[in-house]
């Protein structure tokens, strides 16, 4: 035993298995695990998909089992935006504004075909997919998707977060930082 170290540290350093009740990990991995298990949804509900979302968070399907039942109606208190419904062009800047008001890390689920591709509204007034204005992490097909469909999407998102795949906000932030560092042309 090395002098001056608590017994657990000494055991870890010597390569022996840690004593019972202690496990080792990296901070990064633990943060990802915690984030994946405590998603706070912000429903951006504009149509019937929002009704299906209500049943997902209600007792029967019980989203609390996935740690994502704390529905917030302020973008500042949530990190998972669920766009549930048709988004028209007039609402596009509102959607973008609300997404930008969310604090990073943040993720977006596009629920149903209207939000994902415009659905059957191939017309003069509907956005053909919300990814025209906000980055989407998981798309859920269906009109509306079943509650199981949305739960599966949330599980997919949790997998993505736990695996450490960068989210769009992260990629975007890194791209911006890189372009800030890049030498700027003078007098162009």
């Amino acid at each position: 035993m090395k002098a001056g170290l608590p017994p657990e540290r000494a055991a870890a350093d010597s390569g022996a298995p840690p004593p019972e009740g202690v496990f080792t990990t990296t901070l990064d991995k633990m943060v990802r695990w915690a984030r994946a298990g405590s998603l706070w949804p912000l429903p951006f509900g504009t149509a019937c998909c929002a009704i299906e979302f209500m049943s997902v968070v209600s007792s029967h399907y019980d989203l609390a089992r996935f740690g994502a039942e704390v529905v917030r109606f302020s973008p500042r208190q949530s990190d998972m935006m669920i766009v549930a419904g048709t988004v028209v062009d007039k609402q596009a800047p509102i959607l973008k504004l609300i997404y930008e008001q969310m604090c990073a890390p943040k993720w977006v689920i596009s629920m149903g075909v209207c939000a994902s591709s415009g659905g059957f509204y191939r017309a003069y007034h509907v956005m053909q997919g919300i990814d025209e204005v906000v980055p989407v992490d998981v798309y859920v097909p269906g009109c509306p998707p079943t509650p199981e469909g949305l739960i599966y999407a949330i599980m997919k998102l949790q997998e993505k977060i736990e695996s450490g795949q960068p989210s769009h906000w992260q990629v975007e932030a890194e791209r911006r930082a890189a372009s800030d560092r890049a030498p700027q042309p003078v007098g162009a």
Partner: protein
């Protein structure tokens, strides 16, 4: 069914009525555009007719029929006392798409007429706020015209002002009533 309505209108607007038809009890009256406001006012004020309820104002684009005039503005009236209905139509040419407003007769036609303007580009003269109601600020053209491409879209980059019709007095009253703790 609506005999007395047709008779009444013939008596007062005989020369301005272009066509009167009664299909299965649904009376339709085509009227000259110059007289449509007088006719609507008569429909509301005349005690025998008493069409106190303007249910809808809409328009039709007869582009593919090739006839003249291209558009028709349609008013759906209902009388709460006699239970009768009448559909008033007036032709509107493409090169001068203007009709007199009916807001001074039925206040409820305000938004209907704005919708017709938004979708068909037919302006209503004398309307207090003749602007788009459904489509956004940067939208160009009129979506329900038959020659508008069905999936042509116009992007909006900044939020449209949705409260511009509310006067500042009204806005203050609304704010005073807000009681959400986060709004303090």
């Amino acid at each position: 069914m609506a005999e007395f309505v047709a008779e009444n209108l013939r008596r007062s607007f005989g020369d301005a009525l272009e066509r009167v038809s009664d299909e299965h009890g649904d009376l339709t009256v085509w009227v000259d555009r110059a007289r449509v406001h007088d006719l609507l006012e008569h429909c509301k004020r005349d005690p025998e007719l008493d069409f106190s309820f303007c249910m809808d104002v809409t328009a039709v684009d007869y582009l593919s029929l090739g006839g003249r005039p291209r558009f028709a503005v349609v008013y759906h009236l209902y009388s709460l006392t006699t239970g009768k209905r009448v559909r008033v139509k007036t032709g509107v040419p493409e090169d001068d798409p203007v009709v007199a407003t009916a807001v001074d007769v039925w206040k409820s036609t305000d938004w209907f007429e704005r919708e017709v303007y938004d979708m068909f580009g037919i302006r209503f003269e004398g309307h207090p706020n003749m602007k788009r109601i459904l489509c956004h600020r940067d939208f160009q053209g009129h979506a329900l015209r038959k020659d508008y491409p069905a999936d042509l879209r116009w992007k909006l980059l900044r939020p449209d002002d949705l409260l511009d019709e509310i006067s500042s007095d009204e806005m203050q009253r609304i704010r005073a009533r807000v009681s959400h703790p986060l709004s303090e």
